[in-house]
Structures are given as structure tokens and as C-alpha cells.
């Protein structure tokens, strides 16, 4: 407790010093500049184009992996989805195991880590840079990503660590270490460590700064402009109370409200689509047409494709490895069942929710086109000009607001809650990677949690550009190492899959209800 108090006192001192620093010349600007300067090289490396093209190699890496897994497992995402739904509904759960983590709970927790700003702000970024066509590639990436998610979550359960006290730790760092050793492949430890390093960075980037940043923009959009660090400090204090102070009640409330918000969001989007039912055909036309021509966006078809794939990966995290950490807590005799359940995630996240957002933005006419040529009007920065000039979450807000003027207020609440629940999930993922690197123990854990809180403030203060670049880069860097692991270990998953499906066929695996 004394350690806790000491850190808390430190944090309070930091907050107290902040206004002084702000008076000395714009804390936001200083944070922004320092941050962009410090992370620029890393971002450039991750998003370096394949020589001779403008196609970022990392996006190709993810798409190729998702396609390989899709083919290798024989289009698993289309073969087992019915069985996946049965598993989630508990039809195959042994009643004697009641009281353990259910498939539904693991799915819900993993989803609350992924559904959030990627679906609201990320999609807006995708269509404002890549045009309506980006949506098509986003949906395709979501469908392919289901196979990546299936592979990683099966491995997450299969190779997790179980401790004598009954708790479990799982995720890519564990399956890469153990799986490589089991198959006699060298280098497992190195790849696992690299994954863990980038997982820590990813948790600070996309899982933290991006969330704080967009939450601040939403709040500022409602109450008027004010310095970002103020939102940052408030958020940091709440996150601190939850992850360090163990204030579980806040986390629990969020976990309950977030699914309701998610359903409400999809419900309102559906309502807007029904109100504009006559334009849905036109919107899909825009999406399909834009997907293959670009409709005048910078980079044409490839530009739309990159944006679609990039934002889909950022939203559903398939191939990134984060979901494997959350899913590994499920108590099941068959690790493959967790893979079946997890493949629903990219579908719900990307194919359903992201597409809803994109359709609403397109249908409400937010993307401005030249009436003569039918091509998008571009801004100086090379983005598609929008009706209100907004990008990111502001664009989504404007699109929903155009149909339902009260919605931006609800969206602001939803964004703040989504941001918060994503932060809590990523604080956990980051912590797991951190303890893998530095060992478990109260002090090491506390150090990470404090670093995490500091990054909340930085994220809220920095401007969107550098934050989104770094967030993407760190999360994609996780995928580099995770996917190497998945390639090496995919035969293990295939064995499990064939054995399970054979037993399901023969009736050895039976339904309980």
C-alpha cells in the first residue's frame, strides 16, 4: 500500500506541475512536437512501401497471412459459423463446468476490447482518405481476418500457462515460446520477446493514446475547445483508479454499458439506413465502383484498398495477437472451440459494425463529389472533402447528426465509454506482455500501469495525425511477429481442427441442450 501511495503522490505532483508547464508555451504543442519527432522513424519503417509501388508492405503482410490461413483451413470462416453460434449459445457446454468462463463471456470481453473507436473514428478516416471504395476492401479484410483470428485464439488457449493458484496467462508470447520449442523450431524466444515489446507499445498507442485523443475531440466538440491535457489528466486519474486502485466497480459498469452502447449504435445506424432505404443501392454502387476505380482519390484503387485493409486490421485486430490474450482464459477441453468462437469477432466488428458506419457516412452525403465528373473533391491534404470539414470521429458524428440531430451527444458518451473500455482491455494486454518481459511482481506491474496512465495524458494532448500513425505502426508491428508464429504453428491448429471436426461428425462431441 505504501508503494501505491508513493506512486499516487508522484502522479498528483505531475498533474499539479502540468498547468505551470502549460503557461510556459502550450503544453499540447510541445507534447505534439516531441511525440511526432520521437516516433516518426518507426512509423516510416512500418509503413514503408514495397519498392516500386505505393503499397505498404505491412498491409500486404497482413492480407497475405489472412488469405493463407483462409485457404489452409479450407475457408473455415464459412464452414463453421453455425457451430460457432451454437458454442456461444452454450449448446455444447457441459453443465458441470458452469461457473467457469463461458464462450460468450470470452467473446464479449474480447469484443469490448476491439469494438470502439476503430469502428467509429477509424472507418471515418478510411473513407475520408480512401473514399467509399475503402469500405469494400474493409469488408473483404474483415472476412479474411476471421481465419487469422481463428488461428491465433486456438493457439492462445492451447499453449496458455496455468498457475497453481488457478489463474491463467496466455497469448502470442506463450504460444510462440512453447509451440516453437515443441516443434523444434529455433528462435521462438526471440520472436516472443519482440512481440511482447510491440504489444507494450501497441497498448500505449492504439489501445491508449488513440482512444484518449478521440475521446477528447468528442468532448471538445460538445463543450467547446479546451486543452487536451485536461481530458488526459481526468481520464488518467480514472484509469489509474481502476487498474492500480482496483476500483473494479467502474470497470464493471463500463463492461455492462458498452455492449448496450454497441447495440444502440448499430440500431441507430440501421434506422438511418431504413430512413434512406432508396439510397442503399446507390451507396453500394459507390462502394463497389470506388473499390476498383478509386473515384478520384489519391492513389486510386490501391489507395482505397490500403485504407480499407489498414483500418479493418486496426479495428478487428485479426492477426495482431491481442484477442488471443483475452480468449485464453476460457476453460475448455477443446482449444479449437475458442478459435471457432473468436472468428465471429471480425465479422461482428468489421463486416457488421464498420460497414454500418461507412454506409451512414456515404448515405448522408458527407463525402463531397464533383457533380460534373462524379469524382471526389479533394482537399489540399489529399483527403476527400467532407460536408462539414470534419475527419475522424467528427465525420461519423456529423453523418449521424445529419439524420438525427441529437445523436452526436449520445455518440460522445458512447465514444468516451468505448475509449475507456478499450483502454482497460489494452492495459491488461500490455500488462501481460510487460510481465512476460520483466517477470510478474507487484512493483513491475505498478511501473507499467503508471507508464500507461502517463500515455493517456500524452495521447489526449497530441494531435490526431502523429497519434494515429504511431498507434497503427505499433499495432501492426505486433502482427509482424505474431504472424510468423502463426505460420510456424498452423499445422498444430490443423491437427486440432481435423480431429475435432471428425469427432463432431461421429457424434463423440455431443450437444448438452
Amino acid at each position: 500500500m505504501t508503494l501505491f501511495q508513493r506512486f499516487f503522490a508522484g502522479l498528483v505532483a505531475l498533474f499539479a506541475a502540468a498547468p505551470v508547464m502549460a503557461q510556459e508555451g502550450g503544453i499540447d504543442a510541445a507534447v505534439n512536437e516531441a511525440f511526432a519527432g520521437a516516433t516518426g522513424w518507426f512509423v516510416n519503417f512500418i509503413f514503408a512501401p514495397i519498392p516500386g509501388t505505393n503499397f505498404a508492405w505491412i498491409v500486404a503482410w497482413l492480407v497475405i497471412a489472412a488469405s493463407v490461413f483462409t485457404l489452409y483451413f479450407g475457408f473455415i470462416q464459412f464452414r463453421v459459423w453455425r457451430h460457432s453460434l451454437h458454442l456461444v449459445a452454450g449448446k455444447y457446454s457441459d453443465p458441470n463446468d458452469a461457473g467457469e468462463v463461458s464462450h460468450f463471456q470470452a467473446l464479449a470481453t474480447a469484443l469490448s476490447g476491439t469494438v470502439g473507436l476503430g469502428n467509429i473514428a477509424g472507418v471515418a478516416v478510411a473513407v475520408s482518405i480512401g473514399g467509399a471504395g475503402a469500405t469494400f476492401w474493409m469488408i473483404l479484410a474483415g472476412l479474411l481476418g476471421m481465419a487469422s483470428k481463428f488461428t491465433e485464439c486456438t493457439l492462445g488457449v492451447k499453449y496458455r500457462n496455468e498457475y497453481p493458484d488457478g489463474t491463467v496467462s496466455g497469448g502470442p508470447m506463450y504460444y510462440i515460446t512453447k509451440g516453437f520449442a515443441e516443434r523444434g523450431v529455433p528462435g521462438g524466444k526471440f520472436i516472443a520477446v519482440m512481440f511482447a515489446i510491440f504489444c507494450v507499445l501497441g497498448s500505449l498507442g492504439g489501445g491508449n493514446m488513440f482512444q484518449a485523443n478521440q475521446a477528447h475531440q468528442q468532448i471538445a466538440g460538445i463543450v467547446g475547445e479546451f486543452p487536451g491535457w485536461i481530458t488526459g489528466v481526468v481520464f488518467a486519474a480514472i484509469v489509474f483508479a481502476v487498474i492500480v486502485g482496483g476500483l473494479k466497480s467502474i470497470a464493471r459498469v463500463t463492461e455492462k454499458v458498452v455492449p448496450i452502447m454497441g447495440i444502440l449504435y448499430v440500431g441507430v445506424a440501421l434506422l438511418i439506413l431504413i430512413m434512406n432505404a432508396d439510397s442503399i443501392g446507390w451507396a453500394f454502387g459507390q462502394i463497389i465502383n470506388g473499390a476498383f476505380t478509386g473515384n478520384g482519390i489519391v492513389g486510386g484503387m490501391i489507395g482505397a484498398l490500403i485504407q480499407g485493409f489498414r483500418r479493418a486490421a486496426f479495428s478487428n485486430e485479426a492477426g495482431v495477437g491481442s484477442a488471443a490474450i483475452a480468449h485464453s482464459a476460457v476453460r475448455t477441453k477443446e482449444p479449437i472451440t475458442e478459435g471457432f468462437v473468436s472468428l465471429l469477432e471480425p465479422f461482428i466488428d468489421t463486416v457488421v459494425i464498420c460497414t454500418m458506419t461507412a454506409l451512414v457516412i456515404i448515405i448522408t452525403g458527407q463525402l463531397l463529389t464533383d457533380p460534373e465528373t462524379g469524382l471526389y473533391i479533394l482537399t489540399e491534404g489529399g483527403q476527400v472533402a467532407t460536408a462539414t470539414g470534419a475527419t475522424g470521429v467528427g465525420l461519423t458524428s456529423a453523418a449521424f447528426g445529419a439524420a438525427m440531430p441529437w445523436f452526436p451527444y449520445l455518440l460522445a458518451v458512447a465514444v468516451v465509454l468505448f475509449a475507456f473500455s478499450t483502454m482497460i482491455s489494452w492495459a491488461y494486454y500490455g500488462l501481460k506482455a510487460w510481465t512476460y518481459l520483466f517477470g510478474e511482481g507487484q512493483t513491475t506491474e505498478l511501473v507499467f500501469k503508471c507508464i500507461f496512465c502517463v500515455f493517456v495524458i500524452i495521447g489526449a494532448a497530441a494531435s490526431l495525425g502523429p497519434v494515429i500513425d504511431f498507434s497503427d505502426a505499433a499495432i501492426f508491428a505486433m502482427a509482424i511477429f505474431n504472424i510468423i508464429g502463426l505460420y510456424v504453428l498452423m499445422p498444430v491448429v490443423k491437427r486440432e481442427l481435423e480431429s475435432y471436426l471428425a469427432r463432431l461428425e461421429s457424434g463423440e462431441i455431443r450437444r448438452f441442450k
Binding site: S93, G99, E100
Partner: protein, 144 residues
Amino acid sequence: MTGKIIVAVDGSEAGARAMAHAHARAKGLGASLLVVHVLEWSPYTFLTPEELEERHARRKQELARAEEAIISPLITRYDGQGVGLESAIRYGHVVETICDIAEKQGAIEIVTGRTGNSGMMSRVFGSVAGTLAQVAPVPCTIVP
């Protein structure tokens, strides 16, 4: 011995009275007694990642605590008094789980205490005893 009587207990005074009543009845009928405690649990609630991680350990603790605080005092007290005693601790929706056990075990009767939330709570959400009386697949005795 003919038949089996299920007694649902929750560690309360009324539960103890239900146990006394069920024991006397079982003795009179020559039946055996199955002492059941159900921990309220839904597989469709939302948990944080930490709660997922700790769930298995928590479950073990909860089972041990229920065994120690609720089941074993009753078993110790009524053991060796001429009635066959068994016990079970389950997770699930309390009423559904009790009814499920009654059907599977072919019980002849369910005995439970009239406890639980009083006043507003039970008016809004209903009580275990009240619901059990309505849906039990076998005769149900509620002990005040």
C-alpha cells in the same frame, strides 16, 4: 429406501428449518436426502479481462466456501440419523438448476426455505421459493 427428497439450502436460518423438515419427512417416508446449494451464475454476463483470468481460481474458492459454510455443517449435524445423505453444489440459475436436478435424480419432492429478499426486491424480481412453487416438476414444500 423409497425415493429421494431434494432440500435446497442457502446457509440461512430458513434453510436450516427446511433441512430439519425435509429430514423428518425423509425419515418418515424412508427416503434419502439430497442437500443442494446453487450459486447464482449466468454464462451471459460481462466480465473484465482480469475477471476472466481469475475466474477458475474464484470458482474453486466459491465452491470450497459453500462446502465449508453451508453444506458440511448440515451434513455433520444430520449424519448417522438413519437417513441417507448426499450433497451437491451447482452453478446456474437457482430455480432452473434445482428443477433440473429434481428431474434428473427422479426426486419425489423438493423442500426449500422461505427466505431471500423481502419487500420490494421480491415483489419486482420474485423469490426463489415463489418461483419454485410455480415451476417445480415435483411436489414442492416451502418451509416458513
